[in-house]
Symmetry: C2
Subunit: 168 residues, 2 copies
DNA sequence: TAATTCCCGACTGAATTACTCAGTATATTA
DNA sequence: TAATATACTGAGTAATTCAGTCGGGAATTA
């Protein structure tokens, strides 16, 4: 379990996808502009997320990325783990002699802490964040704008709407 | 809130101090050998821990480091924060325009997650780890050995004992 | 066909990690 | 008092990671 800016980028990007899930795919260009992250860097992060099945890409105009699973089945721990490659495990773990045959005590304790932390973050899903009332309110406001414009441009409403509601 | 190998080093070292608290100061040389971390690197980490008042150093032979406060009053979050300098906060936070005047939604959500995580780690104290029965058992065994030798070398028992019970 | 998007790999400067070395300061012990 | 063990400090450094650029290719839509 490691946690850095990289993990934060991945989580916020995934939240973005979750929020705009019903509007069709979200482009990396949108996220890039929105959150101030370089496009190519996002591509690298999303390559890892895709490998884990957390997102799926849709090519071509009107394409982008959408969640690979329902937001309720994607945990924060999964997201972080897929981009922040695991911290190197302590030397003594696995082979059980740290110092003098006896299995290292503090390393056991760290393992304990680490798994508690993982459990905590694995319990938090994307859905548990975006389903809170304040969030739904903001999301709803953006939807009304989007759908109003959508009725004016019937063919690909999602794309047009997405451009408008790109204010993160 | 950032979490890396550096933080792990600090936490395990602090656990070491907490476990051997009643035996007098623990030297960095012990921890270094025990946990396979370079001595000078430990010194740098402990400089930060000392600055935060989490540990206090004792110079001279028989010296070392001991906890700056009772183990029940030192949280994991404090330890990590003192060595893993904080993740750079998102651009839009503070000044409240991320993109178009409206405060960035995903960044609010991240702040939320971040504070939940901090609260979780701030609730975990050193004491909550070392007070578990398995740990006390190991610690007790080492104590009996230490005190048996201590009676044979009256003047500075703690130091001699520490050398023996250095198997982490 | 042209445009838009995902996808892929090589490369790069800057920062961080983990470490080495070389010393100074303070306390203990012989 | 001299020797020793420890904490402290700071400068330097190879390796790694971060975050990004660049140049393309592949699939989809219009």
């Amino acid at each position: 379990m490691k946690l850095s800016t990289k993990g934060r980028y991945a989580v916020t990007a995934m939240l973005d996808l979750a929020i705009h899930d019903h509007e069709g795919p979200v482009t990396l260009a949108d996220i890039s502009q929105c959150q101030g992250i370089s496009l190519s860097y996002l591509e690298q992060l999303f390559a890892k997320l895709r490998k884990e099945g957390l997102v799926e890409g849709v090519r071509g105009p009107g394409g982008g990325y959408r969640l690979g699973r329902p937001a309720s089945q994607i945990s924060i721990a999964e997201i972080i783990n897929s981009v922040d490659e695991n911290i190197d495990v302590t030397r003594c773990l696995g082979n059980k002699d740290c110092q003098g045959g006896e299995k290292c005590l503090t390393h056991q304790l760290w393992e304990d802490l680490s798994s508690r932390l993982y459990a905590f973050l694995d319990d938090l899903t994307l859905a548990s964040f975006i389903n809170r009332p304040e969030i739904r309110e903001v999301s709803r406001r953006q939807d009304t704008i989007a759908s109003r414009i959508a009725t004016m441009f019937p063919p690909r409403p999602a794309r047009v709407g997405a451009n408008i509601s790109a204010s993160c």
